[in-house]
Symmetry: C2
Subunit: 452 residues, 2 copies
């Protein structure tokens, strides 16, 4: 059953560490899932966490390590000797997790740890995996999987699976290869069980197997696994040889991280922070976008300064600065976020810039007309200055039009330039639109009052 971390439990652990009561500590942690132990460690001091961590043995120790958040893990690994890392963690891990851990180490440490790994097959797998780009299919796959030869019988397979399965936590699918190791198809454990032991594998397997190349980008892999509801996907090289497999848990993590990144971009937060992070990390994450906001504000002041004469002549002109800015900002964020989300969810033709801009213009034209009329009606009744009423409506219309246009165009352009389109959301588009919006507002306002 699920385990709930309570204040009492943590206090009890702290006491036990204080008393150096290792037997009791081991007994307390025995029934916990590695993910729970990692969570408990998060509530302890670094020294306490290290103390209880070193009591863990074998596979449990390595499973817990994988569950510790990356930034803490790095600090943790720094204080441990290379032979301990090799013997206590790396040897027990799946190759993909081991390669992730290795990537956290600095170059010297990496070499030393590699030397200390006694299982040469594991060391070889890790070195292989480290060759791939970090965010490619090769970089996230694990070497552990179950594969069988197409010419075998069910009986041979079962024997071979028993052997291979030692290293593999969950089998999910059995991959079928030919003598050159090329992926030919896939077989479910279910089928294997339901057929007689002398059936040939070649008569059982499913030849239409969905696979990815080692060079495929992480996004592609996630998209395919999601689309086809796959719990694992085989990874092949350029000539179709089976190299590894990627499992659903990597994809869930990836989907979550991608979504968080886009969210933080639109919220104007730089880098991955959480409410639990320390204050200075939160400050650092907010600073860049606030600085952009401030520069935008200063530019706004300069725009307004250049219209000082008009402002001092017609004070009411200032009244609609907030309206102009609010609408420009909101429209810009709405437009850019729809494009960014479309790109993220892999909508086809998102690159068909012309067509998309045309539709966006229809939407913008309609919305801008509605709000221009609404503000006209409000101003017509609320205040007597007809020039102001007209110029506010007209400029709002134009500002909303151009804000939609830029909000759509800029992420599309960034995407074409292979830059993350999410950069164009949030504070960026708001700031840019604010300034241009103010400028348009004053150009039109000036026209009206000059004509007068």
């Amino acid at each position: 059953m699920e385990f709930e971390i309570t204040r009492e439990y943590i206090d009890r652990l702290k006491e036990l560490v204080e008393e150096n009561n290792t037997d009791e500590l081991k007994a307390t942690m025995e029934p916990l899932h590695p993910a729970d132990i990692a969570e408990v460690m998060d509530d302890l001091t670094m020294d306490e966490a290290k103390f209880i961590y070193l009591l863990l043995e074998g596979e449990k120790a390595s499973d817990v390590l994988i569950e510790i958040p990356e930034q803490h893990r790095r600090r943790f690994l720094k204080v441990l000797p290379p032979e301990l890392i090799a013997s206590k963690f790396i040897e027990y891990m799946d190759s993909d997790d081991a390669a992730d851990i290795m990537a956290d180490l600095d170059e010297d440490m990496k070499q030393e740890v590699l030397k200390e790994i006694e299982d040469t097959e594991q060391a070889g797998d890790i070195v292989d995996l480290m060759e791939y780009e970090e965010d490619s299919a090769g970089g996230i796959m694990a070497k552990e999987m179950v594969s069988v030869n197409e010419n075998w019988t069910v009986a041979t397979c079962l024997k071979e699976i028993s052997r291979q399965a030692e290293e593999v936590d969950e089998i999910y699918y059995i991959y079928v290869t030919d003598d050159q190791d090329r992926l030919k198809g896939v077989l479910s454990l279910k089928k294997l069980i339901l057929n007689s032991t002398n059936t040939k594998i070649s008569n059982l397997f499913e030849p239409d197997v969905i696979s990815v190349r080692t060079s495929a980008r992480q996004e592609e892999v996630a998209e395919m696994m999601d689309k086809y509801d796959l719990v694992a996907i085989p990874v092949i090289d350029g000539i179709g040889r089976l190299k590894g497999r990627i499992t659903f848990d990597d994809v869930i993590d990836f989907v979550r991280e991608e979504a968080e990144r886009d969210y933080q971009m639109i919220a104007g937060i730089a880098g991955d922070v959480e409410p639990d992070d320390r204050a200075w990390e939160l400050i650092r994450a907010r600073f860049p976008w606030l600085l952009i906001g401030m520069i935008g504000g200063i530019m706004g002041a300069l725009v307004l300064g250049s219209y000082e004469t008009e402002l001092s002549r017609v004070t009411e002109l200032a009244f609609y600065i907030p309206l102009t800015m609010a609408m420009a900002g909101n429209v810009g964020v709405q437009s850019s976020s729809i494009v960014v989300q479309g790109i993220a969810s892999g909508v086809k033709d998102v690159g068909a810039t012309g067509k998309r801009l045309l539709k966006e213009l229809t939407v913008a034209f309609t919305t801008a007309s509605i709000f221009a009329v609404l503000i006209f009606i409000y101003n017509y009744f609320a205040q007597g200055n007809m020039d102001l009423t007209l110029s506010v409506s007209i400029s709002l219309f134009i500002v909303m039009l151009y804000a939609s246009f830029f909000g759509t165009l800029i992420p599309l352009l960034l995407h074409k330039l292979k830059v993350d389109p999410a950069l164009a959301t949030g504070p960026f588009i708001t700031t840019m639109n604010d300034i241009l919006g103010l400028f348009i507002y004053f150009v039109i306002g000036k026209m009206f009052f000059d004509i007068l």
Copy 2:
């Protein structure tokens, strides 16, 4: 291998439909995955899509139906007779998918379809599932799974699994129950294969099985499956009886949807829209938040109007309206989004309002100080009015402080009140902060110039 939809492929299909060439159409679609067929149908007209859809047979037809986006599926189902829905789709589906489809139908249709289902076990399962709340574990689980009795041997199990596995696409885990159907543990297929056929199940299964109650919220289920990297989780009732299981693909979809919803909230988009949606849907989705922005803008105009005397005396006061608004808006969105993301990712103690506000105040105080000093330095050199320089710095400091405070407090309050905290992000917090920010700015500006 993966299938790529090309313009040519679609054109070819359209031609074949035109020619009424059903044999060729069937042959063309034969090798396609249901998800691909659904995608292809999306590129056809409603009539064309219906034509090719009705050529599909048995399980494939029902698999494709599940993959069609919900809004299209509803329109599709409306035009089909109940007996066809029952015999062509529902009978072949997993019970959770069938219940989802049933939820798309109106009440009369639902009853008629239920009557037409010949497989009474399936009909019973569907009725059972429809009893649960839609977003509870009971509402998303499937009844199809493999379960065995703890007193059986491996041999009995294998036989029973062969029988049960007919209905279950993927086994993943075998659940072990006692004579009262209560969940006792879990067994992997791997273990079953690796042990001799006369071993008793009670000696093999893993008793520490992580499960959820039928009443658990969808969020909880997703969190647990993600935390413990589970490919499937068993669902039990109040007295521990095994009722169904939830698989990873439901969770990936849920995680994705949740993230999209939060993103659209902060972007000021009401409801689920995509760039491919029709123009009027996009307009409707944007309208509510723009209206809020406009009301905010009008309130801003009223605030400024009440300081007309000051504005006409000191025109420069208007220059820093954009700065005040930009900073208030950005700080507010940053603060609220960090809280919302914290709540979404299940950070503990997020409800510890006092502690969180205190930390947020530290962050806010530091950030506000930095930017107050920066704008002071800029203004000191850029322009001669010392009163303005001072009042802008001081008001910026106060505005940033309160914007952080509200940005943090409001989502926390909403969360306590069981309202979606994401409502407090984006246009909502920006608009509120803009107005209050302007007010503070003028109160302080007036003080400085009145003293003068």
